[in-house]
C-alpha cells in the first residue's frame, strides 16, 4: 500500500476510534461504576488537557520554526511551556476558588463592571480566532500533502472536517476522546523521531540523540554539523540567536502571558471535581506536554540536517533536480516547496537569501510548516509512519479547534447575545446563533489559513501583545490585590492596550521598513512589546488606584477568601 492508502486507513481508523469512544463514553457516564469511581482519573484528564493544549501549531509548526530559525525559535518552546505553568499555578486554582467558569466572568465580577466583562469577552474571542487560524493552516498542510492537492483545497477540506467534528458532532467535552487524540498525537510525534534518532545518532531517545555525535562515522556532534552547514550556506549559526537577550526575554514573556489566558484550557481545570485531582492532573499534563516539547528541538535538527543533505547533496554541490527524491516532488505539488533553476545547472541549491530575489543563489523555497510532516519522508521511513504523522497532525488540530470554537460560539451567543444584547432570545435561537458563530469563525480562520502567512504572524503577535498588556494584568491584580478597583483596572488595561497596539501598528503596518532592532524601544521587537505594555498597565493601574475610591468591601472579602490558604469552600474559612 502506498502512502496515500495508509493515510486514508490510519486517519479513518483514528476517526472511528474517536467516535467509538464518544458513543461508549455517553453510554458509560450514567452507570453506577462511573459514579462510584468519582469520574475521570487524573492521568486521563492530564492527557486530555495536553491534547487541548497542543495544537497543530505545536505539532506541525514549532519544530519547523526551530528548524529554520535555530536558537531564536526556542522562544516559542519556552513561551508556550511557561504559559502552561503560569496558567496551572497562578490562574486556574484561584479562578476555581472564585467559582467562575470563564475569565471574562471573573473580570466582570471582580471589577463589578459590565464593560470590563465585555472587553474581556472580545479579547477572548480575538485570541481564539488567531489560534484557530493557525490550526486551519496546519490541517490544510496535512490534507494538501496526503490528498495531493494544493494548500488552499487542503484548508477547505480541513474546514469541512473540523466543522462536522466540532459543531455537528458534539464531540467536545468527552474526555476520553481527547485522551485518544493525545495518544495518537504523541505516538505520531515520537515514532518518526525515534526512528530518525536511531538512524542518525544511534540513540533511542531523540532528546539524547540531539546532543550526541552522528553515527555516520564522522564523529561530529549533531549541533556542530548543523552550525557548520548553516554558516556554509549563509545562515546565522544554528545555536546562536540573532535576537538580543532582552528581546528574547520580552517575547518569551509575552508568549507566556498570552497563552496563559487561553480560555479552552482553563475550563479543563474546572471540570475535575476534586481540587486534589486537579493538581495531580495539572502535573500530568506538564509531563505529557514535555514529552512532545522536548522532542521538538531534536526533530527540528534532524530534519534540517537531512533536508540540507538531500537537497544540496552530501558534498554540497547540489542534487540534480531530475534525480530529486520523491518527497521534493510530492511537496512541490502542494506548492509548499518551490524550485527555480536560476543558474541553469539542473541542480538544486539551497542557501540563505530570498527565493523571490533573482540575484540570490537560493533556488529552493521550503515552507517551514512541512518540516514535521516531511521529516519521515526525508529520512525514508516506511509509508505507515508517514501516514501516522498525518493522523497525529489532524488529532492535534481537531482537539484544539473544537475547544476554541466552543469558546467563540458560547462567547458570542451566550455572553454577548443572550446576556448583553438580547436577553429574551429562546434556547433554540441561542443554540442556532452559537452554531452560526462557529461556522463563521471557521470560515474566517480558513481565510487566514489560506491568505498571507506573514499577516497571520503579525496578527498573532498582535493578539499576544494585547492579551499580555490588558487581560493578564487585570487577572493577576484581580487575584493578588484585594484593593485594586474598577477604575484602576480599566485605566491600566486601556493604557496597556493603547501603548502596545500603537507600537505594533507603527512597526508592522505604518512603516515596516523601520522594523529593525536599531529603531526598537529598548531593543524589543513588536512581538515582545506586550511585556512592556504589561508593565505600563501595572504602573498606570497602581497610580489610578491611588486617586480613585476604594473597592467595595464585599469584593475585598471575596478576594480575601479565594486567597485563603486552606480549603476551597467557605465552610472551612470561617
Amino acid at each position: 500500500m502506498d502512502v496515500q492508502g495508509y493515510t486514508f486507513l490510519i486517519v479513518g481508523l483514528s476517526f472511528a476510534l474517536y467516535i467509538g469512544i464518544a458513543i461508549w463514553a455517553r453510554a458509560g457516564s450514567t452507570n453506577e461504576f462511573y459514579v462510584a469511581g468519582g469520574g475521570v482519573p487524573p492521568v486521563a484528564n492530564g492527557m486530555a488537557t495536553a491534547a487541548d493544549w497542543m495544537s497543530a501549531a505545536s505539532f506541525i509548526s514549532m519544530a519547523g520554526i526551530i528548524s529554520f530559525a535555530g536558537y531564536d525559535g526556542g522562544v516559542y518552546l519556552m513561551g508556550w511551556t511557561g504559559g502552561y505553568v503560569l496558567l496551572a499555578l497562578c490562574l486556574a486554582p484561584y479562578l476555581r476558588k472564585f467559582g467562575k467558569f470563564t475569565v471574562p466572568d471573573f473580570i466582570g465580577d471582580r471589577y463589578y463592571s459590565q464593560l470590563a466583562r465585555i472587553v474581556a469577552i472580545l479579547c477572548a474571542i480575538f485570541i481564539c480566532f488567531t489560534y484557530i487560524a493557525g490550526q486551519m493552516r496546519g490541517v490544510g498542510v496535512v490534507f494538501s500533502r496526503f490528498l495531493e492537492v494544493d494548500v488552499e483545497t487542503g484548508v477547505y477540506i480541513g474546514m469541512v472536517i473540523v466543522f462536522f467534528y466540532a459543531v455537528l458532532g458534539g464531540m467536545k467535552g468527552i474526555t476520553y476522546t481527547q485522551v485518544a487524540q493525545y495518544c495518537v498525537l504523541v505516538f505520531a510525534y515520537l515514532v518518526p523521531a525515534i526512528f530518525i534518532s536511531m538512524m542518525m545518532t544511534g540513540h533511542l531517545f531523540p532528546q539524547t540523540g540531539f546532543g550526541a555525535t552522528l553515527a555516520d562515522g564522522s564523529n561530529v556532534y549533531l549541533m556542530d554539523k548543523l552550525d557548520g552547514l548553516s554558516t556554509e550556506l549563509g545562515f546565522s549559526q544554528y545555536t546562536e540567536g540573532s535576537k538580543s537577550m532582552i528581546d528574547v526575554f520580552a517575547i518569551t514573556a509575552a508568549l507566556m502571558v498570552g497563552t496563559a489566558g487561553l480560555p479552552h484550557v482553563i475550563v479543563r481545570f474546572f471540570t475535575v471535581p476534586k481540587v486534589k485531582d486537579t493538581r495531580i492532573s495539572a502535573a500530568w499534563t506538564l509531563v505529557f506536554i514535555a514529552i512532545v516539547y522536548t522532542t521538538a528541538p531534536a526533530v527540528a535538527a534532524f530534519a534540517r540536517v537531512n533536508m540540507i543533505d538531500t537537497i544540496n547533496g552530501k558534498d554540497g554541490s547540489g542534487t540534480l533536480y531530475e534525480e530529486a527524491p520523491a518527497w521534493v516532488k510530492n511537496w512541490e505539488r502542494t506548492g509548499l516547496i518551490q524550485f527555480t533553476d536560476k543558474n541553469g545547472d539542473g541542480r538544486m541549491n539551497y542557501t540563505a537569501g530570498k527565493f523571490s530575489d533573482p540575484a540570490s543563489t537560493n533556488e529552493v523555497e521550503i515552507d517551514r510548516d512541512i518540516m514535521v510532516l516531511a521529516n519521515p519522508e526525508i529520512a525514508d521511513l516506511p509509508a505507515w509512519v508517514i501516514a501516522l504523522v498525518a493522523a497525529g497532525g489532524i488529532a492535534a488540530a481537531l482537539s484544539t479547534t473544537a475547544g476554541l470554537l466552543l469558546v467563540i460560539s458560547t462567547s458570542v451567543s451566550h455572553d454577548l447575545l443572550k446576556r448583553t444584547l438580547k436577553p429574551d432570545i429562546s434556547d433554540k435561537q441561542e443554540l442556532l446563533a452559537a452554531r452560526l458563530a462557529a461556522m463563521i469563525a471557521i470560515a474566517i480562520s480558513a481565510y487566514f489559513g489560506i491568505n498571507p502567512p506573514g499577516f497571520v504572524a503579525s496578527v498573532v503577535a498582535f493578539a499576544f501583545g494585547l492579551a499580555a498588556s490588558s487581560f493578564f494584568p487585570a487577572i493577576i491584580m484581580g487575584i493578588f490585590s484585594k484593593t485594586m478597583n474598577k477604575e484602576g483596572a480599566i485605566a491600566g488595561m486601556v493604557s496597556g492596550i493603547t501603548f502596545t497596539a500603537a507600537y505594533i501598528i507603527y512597526f508592522k503596518f505604518v512603516s515596516p521598513e523601520l522594523n529593525t532592532p536599531d529603531n526598537w524601544l529598548f531593543g524589543i521587537s513588536p512581538e515582545g512589546i506586550g511585556t512592556i505594555g504589561m508593565i505600563v498597565n501595572f504602573v498606570v493601574a497602581a497610580l489610578v488606584l491611588k486617586v480613585t475610591k476604594e473597592t467595595p468591601t464585599e469584593v475585598q472579602e471575596m478576594v480575601e477568601s479565594i486567597r485563603s490558604p486552606k480549603g476551597s469552600g467557605a465552610a472551612h474559612a470561617h
Partner: protein
C-alpha cells in the same frame, strides 16, 4: 342446547357465594347469564325498576350512586349489584355512573329466584350483603372535587382593610359595618396584620386594653396568607395545620383581595382527603395515626378519578406526609418531653417537590442550632428514630439511601449542613451530583422556621458557584432523551418485558433537574418544579417561551405517566410502550422529548460551555 364456558365458570366459582356452593350452582348461573357491555352510553338502560336483575361486574369500574347523587360504593370486578330490589321487590333508587366501561354479567329474576330456592347459602349471602350496605356509613363523596378549585372561585367578599393608624374601636366598627368576623390591616396596600373577633375578645376585652389604642398593639403580626390562585386545598391545609380560621387572600402582587374563613370552606366540605389531613393533625396516638394512614391509599385512588390536574395528586400526598410527620413530632414531644432547643424538620426530594407518589420513600432531616450540646443531640437522635420508624409503619417506607433524620449525617447543625453542601458544591463528583439532586429540593415541615431560613440563606450563598452549575449542567446532559438521530424513539428493554419508554427517568426527571439548576442559579427558594418554572419567568436566564414549553412538556409527560398505572403489559413503573399511542400522541411525545433535549443542550451550553 347449552354449554358452560370454562372461563366464566371458573370466575364465578371463585367468588362468594359460589365458592361455598356445589359446582352445579356456578354452572347453572353461568348457563343462564346474559353478558352486557356497560358503558356511559347505556348506563341508564340497566338497573330498571320494572325488570330487576342481578348484576356481576367482570371488568371495568362503576360507581353506584344514590338518588341524591352521593356515591354509595365503587364497583369493580367480582362485585354484585342490583340485588336489593330482587330481594325486597322495592323500586330501584340507585343509579350507575360508569367510570370505565366493562363487561357485566346479568341474571334474570327467574334464575335468581331458582338459585335462592335451591341453595340457602346463596340467599343468605345476598341478604347479608344487603343488610351490610344499609348499615355501613355511606361513603359519601362529591364527584367534583371542590378542594381542587381555586380560592378566587370561593371567595366573594371584598377586602375589608384598615390603615395601621386606626384604633381598635375603628376596627370593631368597620367589622360590624361590613358584617365580617375579621379585618386586614394594611400599609400602602401591603398586608401587615389581621384582627379577628376572637382577638377583640381575647386581646382587648379580656386583657382590658383601651379601645382607643392602635390596632397595632393587638393585631396578629405577619399573619399566614394565601394567594387567590392557590387551591382551596392549600388553604384548608394551612388552616388545619396552624389552627387558624381566617386566611387573608392576596393577589400575585401581594395586594389583599379578601378573607377566606374556615366556615367558607366547611360549607364546601363533605368528605375528602383534606378531612383526613385534619384528622391526622389531631390524632391522639401513634396507633390512631397509623390507622388513619392506612386509609391513604384507598382514599387517594378514589380521589384520583376526580382530578384533572395531576400535579395536585403529588401535592395532596405530600400534604398527608407533612401532616403525619408534624403529628409524629408532636407526639414524640408529648411522650418524651419538649425539645431542649430549637430545631427544624425538613424534607428533601419528591416530598419537597410535592411530587410524592404512593411508592415514594422518606427523605428527611433535622436542622439543629450551632450551639447544640451532645445531650441535646441524643434527644434528637431519639426523635429522628421515632419519627422515621413510625413514618415507615404508616406506609412511607425507609429511604434505601438512608437520607433520614434517624441517620446522624442528616441531623446536623446549620453549619454542619452547610459544610456538607459546600463539599458537594466545591467537589462536584458524580456521586455528589446524585446527592444534590435529592438534597437541593428542600422544604420546611415543622419546628423553628428561623433555623431553616438561616440554613437556606447560607446555602444560597455557597451555592452561587459557576463551576457547580457547570457540573450540574454536565450531569443533566449525561441522561439522554430517548430520541434517536433520525427522530425515532429509542426504546429500552428488560429481559422479561416488552420494549418501552421510561417517561419518568428520561423525561420528567430531566425537566426537574433543569428547573432545579435554573432555580439555583436565579436564587429561587422553591422546590416544586412547576412553581420553580413559574418563578423563573421573572428572570432573564431562560426565555418565557422556553419556560412555557418546559411546563407544557412536564404536564404532558406526567399526564402520560398516569396511563402507565393501567398498563397491562407488565412494563416497569412509569414506562409506556409507544405502540399503544395514537400517531398524534406519538408526535406530541416526540415533540416533547425534542424540547427537553433542546433545553438540556441549552443548559450545557449556558452553564458548562458544553458541546453544541
Amino acid at each position: 342446547m347449552s354449554c358452560e364456558i370454562q372461563d366464566i365458570v371458573q370466575f364465578v366459582g371463585a367468588l362468594p357465594p359460589f365458592n361455598q356452593l356445589p359446582a352445579s350452582a356456578s354452572e347453572y348461573f353461568t348457563n343462564h347469564l346474559e353478558i352486557i357491555y356497560l358503558s356511559t352510553e347505556n348506563q341508564h338502560d340497566w338497573l330498571q325498576s320494572n325488570k330487576p336483575q342481578l348484576y356481576l361486574v367482570r371488568s371495568g369500574h362503576f360507581d353506584l350512586v344514590n338518588g341524591k347523587g352521593e356515591l354509595i360504593t365503587r364497583l369493580a370486578s367480582g362485585d354484585y349489584f342490583g340485588y336489593p330490589s330482587l330481594l325486597t321487590g322495592d323500586a330501584i333508587q340507585n343509579r350507575l355512573s360508569v367510570q370505565s366501561a366493562g363487561i357485566v354479567y346479568v341474571l334474570s329474576q327467574v334464575d335468581f329466584d331458582y338459585l335462592r330456592r335451591e341453595y340457602k347459602a346463596f340467599e343468605q349471602y345476598f341478604v347479608r350483603a344487603h343488610a351490610n350496605r344499609l348499615l355501613s356509613s355511606h361513603y359519601k363523596q362529591t364527584s367534583d372535587s371542590w378542594t381542587e378549585r381555586r380560592i378566587a372561585e370561593l371567595m366573594t367578599r371584598t377586602a375589608v382593610t384598615l390603615e395601621p393608624e386606626a384604633s381598635i374601636r375603628d376596627a370593631a366598627k368597620a367589622m360590624s359595618e361590613a358584617r365580617v368576623s375579621s379585618i386586614m390591616i394594611t400599609q400602602s396596600d401591603k398586608l401587615i396584620g389581621v384582627i379577628t373577633d376572637r382577638d377583640l375578645r381575647n386581646r382587648v376585652l379580656a386583657a382590658e386594653v383601651s379601645p382607643e389604642e392602635s390596632v397595632l398593639s393587638v393585631m396578629t403580626h405577619k399573619p399566614k396568607y394565601i394567594f387567590e390562585n392557590n387551591r382551596v386545598f392549600s388553604a384548608l391545609h394551612l388552616m388545619l395545620k396552624h389552627n387558624i380560621h381566617h386566611l387573608p387572600v392576596l393577589d400575585e402582587d401581594r395586594k389583599p383581595l379578601g378573607m377566606i374563613t374556615s366556615t367558607d370552606l366547611l360549607r364546601q366540605q363533605k368528605s375528602d382527603p383534606v378531612q383526613l389531613i385534619g384528622r391526622l393533625y389531631k390524632a391522639e396516638s401513634v396507633v390512631l395515626l397509623k390507622r388513619l394512614a392506612a386509609e391513604i391509599p384507598d382514599l387517594l385512588k378514589s380521589f384520583s378519578n376526580n382530578i384533572d390536574d395531576i400535579s395536585l395528586m403529588g401535592k395532596l400526598l405530600s400534604g398527608l406526609s407533612d401532616a403525619l410527620t408534624s403529628r409524629l413530632i408532636q407526639l414524640f414531644q408529648e411522650e418524651f418531653g419538649n425539645a431542649p432547643c430549637d430545631f427544624a424538620w425538613i424534607c428533601f426530594g419528591s416530598q419537597a417537590r410535592e411530587e410524592q407518589t404512593l411508592h415514594s420513600d422518606q427523605d428527611n432531616g433535622l436542622v439543629l442550632p450551632n450551639t447544640i450540646t451532645p445531650e441535646q443531640r441524643d434527644y434528637f437522635a431519639r426523635m429522628g428514630q421515632y419519627v422515621c420508624d413510625h413514618l415507615h409503619d404508616c406506609g412511607i417506607v425507609h429511604c434505601p439511601g438512608n437520607i433520614m433524620a434517624s441517620n446522624p449525617e442528616c441531623r446536623g447543625s446549620a453549619a454542619q449542613w452547610q459544610h456538607r453542601f459546600a463539599k458537594w458544591i466545591t467537589e462536584p463528583t458524580p456521586g455528589a451530583m446524585l446527592n444534590c439532586k435529592i438534597y437541593f429540593d428542600i422544604r420546611f415541615i415543622d419546628g423553628c422556621r428561623e433555623l431553616y431560613s438561616e440554613m437556606m440563606t447560607g446555602l444560597a450563598k455557597i451555592s452561587r458557584n459557576d463551576l457547580f452549575y457547570a457540573a450540574m449542567a454536565t450531569d443533566i446532559n449525561a441522561n439522554t432523551v430517548p430520541i434517536g438521530l433520525f427522530n425515532q424513539f429509542k426504546l429500552e428493554k428488560t429481559r422479561t418485558s416488552n420494549r418501552y419508554l421510561d417517561l419518568k427517568k428520561r423525561g420528567v426527571v430531566i425537566i426537574n433537574d433543569i428547573a432545579r439548576l435554573y432555580a439555583l442559579r436565579a436564587g429561587i427558594a422553591r422546590s416544586n418544579t412547576l412553581e420553580r418554572l413559574e418563578a423563573l419567568s421573572k428572570h432573564s436566564l431562560i426565555s418565557k417561551k422556553d419556560l412555557f414549553d418546559l411546563k407544557d412538556c412536564w404536564r404532558f409527560l406526567t399526564q402520560l405517566r398516569l396511563r402507565t398505572q393501567i398498563n397491562q403489559e407488565g412494563l416497569p413503573g412509569n414506562c409506556i410502550n409507544p405502540e399503544d399511542l395514537s400517531s398524534l400522541e406519538k408526535h406530541q411525545l416526540k415533540e416533547a422529548f425534542y424540547l427537553v433535549k433542546q433545553a438540556q443542550q441549552a443548559c450545557a451550553f449556558k452553564f458548562a460551555r458544553g458541546s453544541l
